[in-house]
C-alpha cells in the first residue's frame, strides 16, 4: 500500500470524527526516549504522526520546537538515525507517519535517496515548510507522487481560496495543512469563528481533507475544530509536556501518552 493510500484509508476509518496528528522532533530528548515517545503517541490514540528531522535553523518554529531541535542535535541525532527510528516505528504501528523537514537536511541526504528510503520503509509523506510552490526546481512534488508519498501543501491565513485550490490541484496529497494563524509554532491560537469557517471553505474549494495546526494545545480547541476540520495537529504542547516531565524527573513517553489521551478525549484510567 502506498503512503497516499494509507493516509486516505486512515481518514476514512475516522468516519467523520476529527483525527489527531501528533508532532515531535526525532531524537528529542534522545533517540531512545524519542522512540518510546512516538510509540506512546500511536498507542494513546493519535491518528497520524508528524516526525520532524532535527535541524539547526527551523525558521517556522517557535522556542519550544527550536529548543527540541537543538537538544536532539546535541544528543547526536542524525538524519540516518532518525530514519532508522521511523522505520522501526513503522513495524510497530499502521498509522500514517509523515516526515516534517526543512529543505537543507533533505538536500544534504540527497532528495532521491531520502524519498526512496521513505517509500521503501513504508513512510507516508512529507511536510516541508520552506519549499514554496514557485521554487519547484527540486521537483519534490512529482518525486513524492511518483513514490506514492504525499507532499502536504501548507495554506496560510492570507492564502486566497483561489490559490489554495491551485496548490491542492498541483498536489497528490489527500489532505492540506491549514496554518491557523500568523507567526511561528507554539503560542496558543484563539480560534475565531472566521478562521473556523474558513476551514469549511478550504475543504470545499480544494476537495481535500483539512488538517488544522499552529497553536493547538488543548482538548477544547480540538473540539472546536471537530466540526470544520478533518484533523487537528498538535506539536509544541507535546514538546512542552516532554520538557516538563524531564524537569520533574518523570517519564516523557508516559507524559506524552497522557496528553494525547487527553487531546483525543479518551477516558484516562
Amino acid at each position: 500500500m502506498s503512503g497516499i493510500d494509507r493516509i486516505t484509508g486512515r481518514f476514512e476509518e475516522l468516519h467523520g470524527r476529527v483525527g489527531l496528528m501528533t508532532h515531535a522532533v526525532v531524537g528529542y530528548p534522545d533517540l531512545r526516549s524519542s522512540a518510546r515517545i512516538f510509540s506512546s503517541m500511536a498507542s494513546s490514540g493519535a491518528s497520524f504522526i508528524e516526525a520532524q528531522l532535527p535541524f539547526s535553523d527551523p525558521t517556522a518554529d517557535g522556542p519550544s520546537i527550536v529548543q527540541a531541535n537543538h537538544a536532539a542535535l546535541r544528543a547526536g541525532t542524525t538524519t540516518f538515525s532518525s530514519l532508522d527510528l521511523l522505520s522501526s516505528l513503522r513495524k510497530e504501528t499502521t498509522i500514517p507517519i509523515l516526515i516534517m523537514s526543512y529543505l537543507n537536511p533533505l538536500l544534504a541526504f540527497g532528495i532521491d535517496a531520502i524519498l526512496d528510503r521513505a517509500a521503501r520503509d513504508g513512510l507516508d509523506g512529507f511536510i516541508v515548510p520552506d519549499y514554496p510552490d514557485d521554487e519547484s526546481e527540486l521537483d519534490l512534488e512529482a518525486k513524492c507522487a511518483a513514490r506514492g508519498l504525499a507532499l502536504v501543501p501548507l495554506i496560510a491565513p492570507a492564502t486566497t481560496l483561489i490559490r489554495a485550490r491551485a496548490l491542492a490541484e498541483a498536489s497528490a496529497s489527500p489532505f492540506i495543512y491549514a496554518v491557523m494563524r500568523l507567526g511561528v509554532t507554539g503560542r496558543k491560537t484563539e480560534l475565531a469563528e472566521e478562521a473556523l469557517s474558513r476551514l469549511g471553505a478550504l475543504r470545499d474549494v480544494t476537495g481535500r481533507r483539512v488538517a488544522a495546526g499552529f497553536g493547538i494545545r488543548e482538548r477544547s480547541q480540538v473540539e472546536a475544530l471537530a466540526l470544520r476540520a478533518d484533523c487537528a495537529i498538535v506539536g509544541s504542547a507535546l514538546i512542552d509536556a516532554i520538557g516538563e516531565a524531564l524537569a520533574k524527573g518523570l517519564d516523557p513517553a508516559a507524559a506524552v501518552g497522557a496528553k494525547v489521551s487527553d487531546l483525543v478525549g479518551a477516558q484516562v484510567s
Binding site: P63, T78, N104, P105, D134
Partner: protein
C-alpha cells in the same frame, strides 16, 4: 519552472514559507516602482548627502604605500558615513521603501550592531518604530552599538537561541516578521536572504563602487589593478565590486579565517568548507555538517561571523570572477593597529580583514600597481575587543575604577533622594 530573475547562476531563489508570500509580493512591487521613480532617487540622494555625509572620501594611504615599496594603496572610507559603516546606505534606502509601503515599524537583525544602529537611526529620522534582533554574544562584544541603538529609540532584543550570533539573529527577525507582516518591514542588512533582498541591498550599496570608480579616475586617471573588501553576508563587497564586474580589475573578498581552518573556528565559506545548500530562505554556500545543519562559526569580528554567503557572491566565486581568501583573527587585529599607526585611521575589525589581506599580497604585485581597499566601517564600536587586546592591564584598571566611581555616584544619589523624601514628608 524557474524564476530566473531570482537567481545568480545557480544561487539565490526565494524559499519562503507560505505565510510570508504576501510580504514578499508587496516588497517586490514597491521595489520595482521605487527603483524607476526619480522622486525616490532624489529623496535618497538628498538624505545621503545631508544626513549620511556622502560621498565618502577615497583616501590615498601615503605612508602605507611607502611601506609597500611605492605600490599605491587607496582606502575607500565608508566608516566616515553616519553611524560609522556602509550599513547606513542600505538601511536608509529600505527605510524609505518602508515609508512608501505605509509601514510604521522596522525590524532588523544585526551582528556587529552597525546595521542595527543604521536602521535605528533611519527609523528615528523617518519617525518609525524599530526593533533590532541581536545575538546575546554579539550584544556583549559590541556594547557601544547596543547603547547607540537604544539612544535612537530602538528596542534591542537579545537572541538566545542556537549560535547566539548573526545567523540566529536573522532567524529571529524573519520569525518576528511572520507575526507582524502587515505593519512591519524587515530591513535585511546584507546582500543575502530570499529574492529580492540580494538585489535591493546590492543596489543601495552600489554607490560605494560607483563613487570609488570616479574618485580613482580623478586621482589616477585609470582603474585600480585590484580591489579588496571584507565579506560577511556580502553587502560592502558586492556594493564595491558591482561597478567593476565588467572591467579588468581583480576583485578579492576577505572572509573570516577566525582561529584557523577547523570546523567551527572560522566563517570561511568559499576559502573554507562551505557547501551548496538552502537555508535562511535562499540557496547559496553554507558552512554545514553532513546532516545539513548550519555550523557554529567564529570570528573576532561579529559582522563576518555568519554561516552563509550572499548568492551573487557565491555565483561570482563559482565563475572565478571574485577570488576569496581567509584572514585569521590575529592578522585582522594587527591590521587595525597598523592602519591606526600609519594612516591615523582605525578600521572596524571586519574591514581590517581586507586591509590585512591587501598588505600581505601587495608586495607580490608589480611596483606600479594601484590597490583599493574598502574600509567598510570604523573601529570605535570594537573598543571592548581591541582595548583589552592591545592594552589589557590599563583597560582592566579603567573598568574597575569606573565601576567603583559609578557605584559611589549612584549610592550618593540614592542617599540624596532619600533625604529629600524625608524633608518633603516633614
Amino acid at each position: 519552472m524557474r524564476h530566473d530573475e531570482r537567481y545568480f547562476g545557480d544561487f539565490g531563489g526565494r524559499y519562503i514559507p507560505e505565510v510570508l508570500r504576501p510580504a514578499f509580493e508587496e516588497l517586490e512591487a514597491v521595489w520595482n516602482s521605487a527603483k524607476v521613480d526619480p522622486a525616490f532617487a532624489a529623496e535618497l540622494k538628498r538624505l545621503s548627502s545631508s544626513w549620511v555625509g556622502r560621498p565618502t572620501p577615497l583616501h590615498f594611504a601615503q605612508r602605507l604605500s611607502a611601506e609597500l615599496g611605492g605600490r599605491r594603496l587607496y582606502l575607500k572610507l565608508e566608516g566616515l558615513a553616519h553611524t560609522g559603516a556602509h550599513k547606513i546606505n542600505n538601511a536608509l534606502g529600505q527605510a524609505l521603501l518602508a515609508k512608501r509601503m505605509g509601514k510604521r515599524r522596522l525590524i532588523a537583525e544585526t551582528g556587529a550592531g552597525q546595521h542595527g544602529l543604521a536602521t535605528a537611526a533611519s527609523a528615528a529620522l523617518l519617525g518609525l518604530e524599530c526593533e533590532v534582533f541581536m545575538g546575546e554574544i554579539d550584544m556583549a562584544r559590541q556594547q557601544p552599538n547596543v547603547f547607540g541603538m537604544r539612544m535612537y529609540g530602538a528596542s534591542v532584543t537579545a537572541v538566545k537561541e542556537g549560535t547566539r550570533t548573526l545567523t540566529d539573529a536573522v532567524n529571529a527577525a524573519m520569525k518576528n516578521w511572520t507575526e507582524r507582516v502587515s505593519d512591519t518591514h524587515y530591513v535585511l542588512g546584507s546582500a543575502l536572504g530570499p529574492h529580492p533582498y540580494p538585489t535591493i541591498v546590492r543596489e543601495f550599496q552600489s554607490l560605494i563602487g560607483s563613487e570609488l570608480k570616479s574618485q580613482i579616475m580623478d586621482a589616477e586617471g585609470r582603474l585600480p589593478d585590484r580591489i579588496y573588501a571584507c565579506v560577511g553576508g556580502g553587502s560592502n563587497s558586492i556594493g564595491t565590486f558591482s561597478a567593476f564586474l565588467g572591467d579588468s580589475v581583480e576583485l578579492v573578498g576577505a572572509e573570516a579565517g577566525g582561529r584557523g581552518p577547523a570546523p567551527g573556528d572560522n566563517a570561511a565559506r568559499v576559502a573554507g568548507t562551505g557547501r551548496v545548500g538552502i537555508a535562511q530562505s535562499y540557496k547559496s554556500l553554507f558552512l554545514q555538517d553532513d546532516n545539513g545543519s548550519l555550523l557554529a562559526t567564529h570570528s573576532v569580528s561579529a559582522g563576518l561571523d555568519y554561516a552563509g554567503l550572499g548568492p551573487q557572491l557565491a555565483h561570482l566565486a563559482a565563475t572565478g570572477r571574485v577570488r576569496f581568501e581567509a584572514v585569521l583573527d590575529d592578522d585582522a587585529l594587527k591590521a587595525v593597529a597598523r592602519c591606526a599607526r600609519f594612516e591615523g585611521f582605525m578600521p572596524a575589525l571586519e574591514s581590517a580583514h581586507a586591509v590585512a589581506l591587501a598588505l600581505k599580497e601587495a608586495p607580490a604585485m608589480p611596483v606600479d600597481s594601484i590597490i583599493v581597499v574598502t574600509i567598510s566601517g570604523r573601529g570605535d564600536k570594537d573598543l571592548f575587543i581591541t582595548a583589552p587586546h592591545f592594552d589589557r592591564e590599563a583597560w582592566l584598571a579603567f573598568l574597575e575604577a569606573e565601576v567603583t566611581r559609578l557605584r559611589g555616584e549612584a549610592a550618593r544619589q540614592d542617599k540624596e533622594a532619600a533625604r529629600q523624601d524625608k524633608e518633603a514628608a516633614r
